[in-house]
């Protein structure tokens, strides 16, 4: 088998008429939804403790005390499920020269004028940004979160360090919520994307339009030598 540059093991042309392309395997999808669930639960429980006006959200978790102990454990769950995603996806999210062109032509991206954009592999620069922002912010949130985890690490750091940690934690939380909104918005705005994470497949037209190099590589892999 030839080496993959733009695709991942499991990515393949699943059906030919019409063209259907496998983008995410079942395990990856299940893990992605675990990450999504924990992120949303963290968002709701964290926001409850962030603003008095949102404290009522603690009711979703069974009160303030439960919210307080549950939130950090959800953070640990998010960390490990995202770690698996990270290990699977980091290589294809490394920056490529075409990403620079893509960012320079961000106006065409927003207009949906994709013929003016370079051909892309499995991810565009926007998706790569979401990936690396999530990775960095999750590390920042876990590190600062452990520093303020009263129940198990009350004396881990000094009180002045705790003040910085709690500030960093809330800033990183605001940032990750913004990235999360961007991620969800982009997935909905780019029609045909959601099925990649539900059924695991996208249409050939979607792959051609948004990730042509990825599709080309998969199409090339399907060709068999007569001798093979």
């Amino acid at each position: 088998m030839s080496k993959r540059y733009y695709s991942q093991p499991g990515d393949r042309i699943k059906e030919f008429n019409p063209v259907v392309v496998s983008r995410y395997r079942g395990f990856t999808r299940a893990n992605h939804w675990l990450t999504a669930f924990s992120l949303i639960a963290l968002l709701l429980s964290g926001m409850a403790l962030f603003s008095p006006y949102l404290y009522f959200l603690t009711g979703l978790f069974g009160g303030g005390q439960t919210t307080r102990w549950l939130h950090p454990f959800l953070g640990v769950l998010l960390f490990f499920s995202f770690l698996v995603l990270f290990l699977q996806l980091w290589r294809l999210n490394l920056p490529k020269p075409e990403d620079v062109t893509w960012v320079e032509k961000i106006g065409d991206v927003v207009k949906g004028d994709e013929e003016k954009l370079p051909e892309l592999g499995k991810y565009n620069a926007g998706q790569k940004f979401v990936f690396w922002a999530m990775s960095g912010l999750i590390v920042a949130l876990v590190v600062s979160g452990v520093m303020i985890w009263q129940q198990y690490f009350p004396d881990l750091v000094s009180i002045p360090a705790r003040r910085w940690a709690v500030l960093a934690h809330s800033l990183a939380a605001v940032a990750i919520i913004l990235v999360f909104i961007l991620h969800v918005y982009a997935a909905i705005w780019t029609r045909g994307t959601i099925s990649a994470m539900t059924r695991g497949t996208v249409t050939g037209g979607w792959a051609w339009r948004h990730h042509r190099k990825w599709l080309r590589e998969l199409a090339g892999r399907e060709r068999r030598d007569p001798a093979e």
Binding site: N17, P160, R162, L167, I188, G205, A219
Partner: protein
Amino acid sequence: MTTDPNLDSPRTAVSNPPIQPMPVNLGPGDVVRASAMPDLPAPTRELTPVAKLIDVSKCIGCKACQSACAEWNDTHPEIGFNTGSYQNPADLSDQMFTLMRFNEYENPETGDFEWLIRKDGCMHCEDPGCLKACPAPGAIVQYSNGIVDFISDNCIGCGYCVTGCPFDIPRISPTQHVSKKCTLCSDRVAVGQGPACAKACPTQAIVFGTKEDMVTHANARVEDLKSRGYDKAGIYDPQGVGGTHVFYVLQHADKPQLYSNLPADPKISGVVESWKGVTKTVGLAAIGLAAVGSVLHGLLSRGNRVTAEDDREAKELVEPSLPAQDKEA
């Protein structure tokens, strides 16, 4: 002086409590500030501000105040180990709301050895950092008489008060998961009695009354100390936190750090202020705008749709790789 049951708060801790039954005199209508409750209704009346004055120069280190505190609050500090100091237990805890901190000081000016024993505990700040940091509505309240109290039923045990306090006072109970500290015996004050520590103090190094009376008394004490050669004697009532309702007379008021690191100019950390201030306001605004903006734009824009042309191109690209039998079909 006896305690008049008609007064809104006791004027002394020394006298015995009134024998006639009296209503509890600290209620929800006396709360001026409550944590995470920005729209708190105004208090229904204004109580006379009270204060506890701790005259360090009079303290003999007997720990009667600690015993009285544990007795009244029914706390049970763990029996610890001798660490080479009379200070016992080693630190404040959820079971020890007040602690005599012992410092042995050799005065370089006089060559004298001095025992600087400071009774540590909640200072009951006029601007309490714990209350500012607390995320749980009504877990920390401030009464109009100046007492800052933790309401355990509302406390969630997150430890934010520890982060907010400029004096390192609150301690979280590892078993009950609520924050604990000196209440200034709010339950005693509510029924006309002074705090247990002040009542127990044999030298009246701890006295209790209205803040006004206590300041007058403290000034007299400072004058007396100055006449005895303590030129730098003074009152420690830090204005960085708006003044406190527990305050000290210090022999060396110019060097509060001598007293087991009593902060020279305590105030709520700028980090805490920006976390609870600009970060919250700007953060919520940014999140709200992003959420509303993306929903609106999502509803109004057409989205980026795949065209029939894209599908045809994909088919053409994939076509040569079709297995032979599919091609015919």
